[in-house]
């Protein structure tokens, strides 16, 4: 298994003047792809936004989109990773990079699971059908596409899934 390479850390800028104010914040981390990791991913994004004075209400949609994307990796790309009682050491890696500034947040999620054609599925129609049939699943992709301003999925040559999400903050 190829270990996902680390992204180059983003530059951290400060305002010129008497009082230095952080303008951007970035972090990259790799977790084992288990459902227990979801809370930590949410915490990092919220904490980074807070450090820039961005409140939870403004970042909530982005956090939800990332949650849905990472949950999909764990439950589908790594189909056996979410098995209750599964050994942690058998879980596969999930790499998340977050870069937040006052105007936007950009997140890159990488895994080495099965490829997923993010564009192929008519997400809103699937979510609508799931709702009508009272289904447990089928809502995540529609939420991701609705909650972010830009998304890009790439299957890299070395077998990694890269999902980049960008949200412009009001």
């Amino acid at each position: 298994m190829t270990r996902p390479r680390r992204l180059r850390p983003a530059r951290r800028g400060v305002a010129r003047g008497k009082k230095a104010v952080r303008r951007t914040a970035s972090s990259s981390f790799e977790l084992r792809a288990g459902l227990v990791s979801l809370r930590e991913i949410r915490r990092v994004i919220e904490s980074q936004a807070r450090s820039l004075g961005i409140g939870r209400a403004r970042i909530y949609g982005t956090i939800l989109a990332v949650e849905e994307a990472c949950s999909n990796v764990i439950r589908h790309a790594y189909a056996d990773g979410a098995r209750p009682g599964g050994r942690q050491r058998r879980l596969k890696p999930l790499a998340v990079s977050v870069e937040t500034s006052a105007g936007r947040v950009e997140i890159l999620i990488r895994d080495v699971g099965r490829a997923f054609d993010f564009e192929r599925y008519p997400a809103s129609a699937i979510a609508d059908l799931a709702l009508k049939k009272r289904l447990r699943g089928g809502y995540g992709i529609h939420l991701i596409k609705s909650l972010v301003d830009r998304y890009e999925y790439i299957r890299s040559e070395n077998g990694e899934n890269h999902l980049r999400l960008v949200k412009y903050l009001d």
Binding site: L38, R42, S71, A130, R134, R136, L147
Partner: protein
């Protein structure tokens, strides 16, 4: 996992069970939440009002649980929701949940509608 679910008959109508989850309903906690709700339904508590006042996050897994239990009880009971935060309400709106499931702003509104 700091996630809890409390359930008790509504003071204003004991035939209705108010279910109060506390914490985040994500892909990890959703299965526990579903078990608790389905256990209530199996015991005949099929009029369920989910109070989300102490829920800070609901992912699609949580919404999926609500839809499954909604489908389970809709023939002879109901599942309705109240006290969603604005952020959580927005995600429900994006999926069209309010078109099939009643969502009340607060208990006063729920009580008025269900009386």
């Amino acid at each position: 996992m700091d996630f809890k679910v409390k359930a008790a008959p509504a003071e204003w109508d004991p035939s209705i069970t108010t279910v109060s989850p506390q914490g985040s309903i994500d892909a990890l906690t959703a299965s526990y939440f579903e078990k608790e709700l389905l256990a209530l339904a199996a015991k005949g508590r099929r009029k369920i009002l989910v109070d989300c006042a102490q829920v800070d996050f609901i992912s699609s897994a949580g919404i999926g649980v609500l839809m499954v239990v909604f489908g389970e009880v809709e023939k002879d009971g109901f599942l309705k929701v109240m006290n969603l935060s604005d952020e959580v309400h927005e995600s429900f709106d994006l999926l069209g949940v309010p078109e099939v499931m009643a969502i009340y702003k607060n208990e006063k509104e729920a009580r008025k509608a269900l009386a």
